[in-house]
Symmetry: C2
Subunit: 125 residues, 2 copies
């Protein structure tokens, strides 16, 4: 058995059947690497102590920030939302992303929403 | 000024003029996100306390491991070399990669090589 598994990001994304439902695909230094498919609007939230990296694999992701700032990530682009920064991801069309965040992070941050997935749900096969 | 900078991975890779010379492009939870161009052979090394993520953006990266194991990463694939694991990256042709490793990590690990770049060199513009 290979001691170091290889993760194909697009193949992992193909397994996802539900929007806003991240799936853990690897761990690096106590950070989870997750993939997710997004479409529509999420919820405004922040993570008090944790930065969150969003990388777009396909499609386009808007992230609304406080003060009416908006950033737009295209394929092959990423950003890091600093800890304690309110943000609201929006995808007009489906997009596939990679997320990096600490093992401790709840993806809806300080907000408990119907969209909130437990870490057990994110660790599913 | 936008409070959350956007990083275009391919554009960052285009700025790189030297092989085996990573460039820090972002920080997330005390981890550096780096880009690098690789060609040829690096040095066998390990990182005692730190995992290291390798993601291939273009080209192909081989990583030799102990016990004659070899993994091959193609475009859009990544792996995490666990802490304390001897490894030796090889690129027969040029490849462009993203690395994620703790701020404390020296890219040649426990080996001081002519290829070793200081963190100041990796933080260059």
């Amino acid at each position: 058995m290979n001691p170091v598994p290889i993760t194909n990001i697009k193949k992992q994304l193909e397994k996802i059947t539900e929007y806003w439902s991240p799936r853990v695909v690897a761990t690096v230094n106590n950070q989870y690497v997750k993939v997710a498919k997004l479409k529509g609007q999420f919820v405004w939230h922040k993570h008090e102590n944790e930065d969150e990296l969003f990388m777009v694999v396909y499609g386009r992701l808007q992230i609304e920030l406080e003060n009416d700032d908006v950033i737009v990530l295209e394929e092959g682009e990423f950003c890091v939302i600093p800890k304690n920064t309110m943000h609201n991801p929006i995808a007009d069309e489906e997009c596939g992303i990679v997320l990096i965040e600490p093992v401790s992070t709840l993806h809806t941050g300080d907000v408990n929403s119907p969209l909130t997935k437990t870490i057990e749900e994110q660790l599913r096969d």
